[in-house]
Amino acid sequence: MAVDSLYSPPSGAPDPDLQMGLELMAHQRRAQLIRLLKTAAVWTVLVGLMTAFLLQLKFDPAYIFQHYQIVLEGVPVTIGVSLVSILFATILALFGALGRLSNNSIAQGVSSLYVSVIRGTPLLIQIYVIYLGLPQIGQQLVAAGYPTLGNMFTLSALQSGILALSLNYGAYMTEIFRAGIQSIAYGQREAAVSIGMTPWQTLRRIILPQAVRIIIPDIGNQFIAMQKDSALVSIMGIWEITYRANRFARKDTKFMEMFLLAAALYWILTIISSWLENRLERRLAHAYER
């Protein structure tokens, strides 16, 4: 067929001004590096000043070095709780978003009430309701002659924590998913429908893969925020970072030492998560790069 591409492959002859372009790029890279070094210098000075200040006030770094192991052992618990919760929250959010976008009034009602109630109440209250409130209902059910059902209402601290975090973040992420799905151009739906796809196939094969790429940074942000909000589950005595720090700080009245250590651990977690999220984002962008 007499149809040829307008793009010609790059020809062999080198660009006579190539040197200029290379120099320009090297210059830009150098400027970027200098900016990075300057920021690092400012950080170092600030942290140094604060450390010096604390050391003047009988801050005891040796205590941290003797006891960091105990708090460090809470890191896997914090990561575990956050990972499982973000997974459940993502699933909840997907269904929440589908409900909000659906024409079915029951689905829409259920998901809009869920989002409204959860976003309208503090996470701490939600934890209390699940951990302390539900067993009270459960006992009444047991008394009323439904022992299996009643016992299901009595959740362990870990189960309560994961449930509360999942429900809470699921509600916020419902809005993220909804916006992501709505941001996909209508033409994509039409193209899918025109080759005979059902609404479900269109969602699964065309809309969601594109929407997920758009909302990955937001999900990453939620995960990073959740790692810190998971500190709230320490009130139920789950042995994660905050609970361990608190417990030992109380014993030896070394609050500043232990809580700064906990803070540092959360900070490092956040930096690592941001870096991972960045990499994932770049991998998903592959199809969209020229």
Partner: protein, 257 residues
């Protein structure tokens, strides 16, 4: 025209957008292997008519028959989605804005319907997909994502995607209107080739040169009605209706420049 052999029949089709009466009882039919070109001003209803045929727009009233599947709509009546799907499977659609799936390669776009809708085994779908990419001259772009294709190449992949489903009729909705002028030719060449091979086609376009070269029949629409219908010679050389004459006069002068 003998209606019994028609592949597509549209009967008294009405479409309302709110209070806007966009299609006012349009009727026509298309024979197998026929190329029908719809022309008319923006807002004349020609794109809406095309989109009603595969139910991207839900007709307000009237009957649409494609390859023996017939759907009759009336106000207050719900669309039978199974029948609409059966009709969609017999029609291939090419959009003005291409609407390629950006997260899939060129080949991925072409085989998507085969794998997901037709449940064809993957290797078989790939073989068929490559055949249709070759047909539009883009086999060398099989693993390239749409963002790295020119507009003309995108539209040719979109044509291959529609062809791969082996529909009985191809619908083209202003396929070259979003393209830079120098890219229009490659898309029109592919469409001409399809016409020569006997593909049944309905084309909405502003390319009058293409219409006069390729069309078996031309319909001129204005304000939701078919004003005039005839062979390219009849429409372009001796249009009967005054509205057709005023529409074509400046366009034809441009073509001769």
């Amino acid at each position: 025209m003998n209606d019994d052999t028609a592949l597509i029949r549209v009967d008294k089709l009405h479409k309302w957008f709110g209070m806007l009466h966009v299609l006012k009882g349009v009727s026509f039919s298309v024979q197998p292997k026929e190329v029908l070109v719809l022309i008319g001003r923006s807002g004349s209803g020609k794109s809406t008519l095309l989109r009603c045929i595969n139910f991207l727009e839900e007709p307000s009233a009237g009957t649409i028959t494609v390859g023996g599947v017939s759907v009759t709509m009336a106000p207050g009546q719900r669309l039978d989605h199974r029948k609409a799907l059966a009709i969609r499977l017999q029609t291939g659609m090419v959009f003005q804005e291409f609407n390629l799936f950006p997260h899939m390669t060129a080949l991925g776009n072409v085989i998507e319907g085969l794998v997901t809708v037709r449940k064809m085994p993957r290797d078989q779908a790939i073989a068929l997909g490559e055949k249709y990419l070759e047909k539009v001259g883009l086999l060398d772009k099989r693993d390239v994502h749409p963002i790295r294709l020119s507009g003309g190449q995108k539209q040719r992949v979109a044509i291959a995607r529609a062809l791969a489903m082996e529909p009985k009729v191809m619908l083209f909705d202003e396929p070259t209107s979003a393209l830079d002028p120098e890219l229009i030719g490659e898309v029109l060449d592919v469409m001409k080739q399809l016409a020569l091979e006997g593909t049944t086609m309905i084309v909405v376009t502003h390319e009058m040169g293409f219409a006069s070269d390729v069309a078996d029949r031309i319909i001129y629409m204005d304000q939701g009605e078919i004003v005039e219908e005839g062979t390219p010679e009849q429409i372009f050389s001796s249009p009967k209706d005054e509205r057709t004459q005023t529409f074509l006069k400046p366009l034809l002068r441009l073509q001769h420049l």
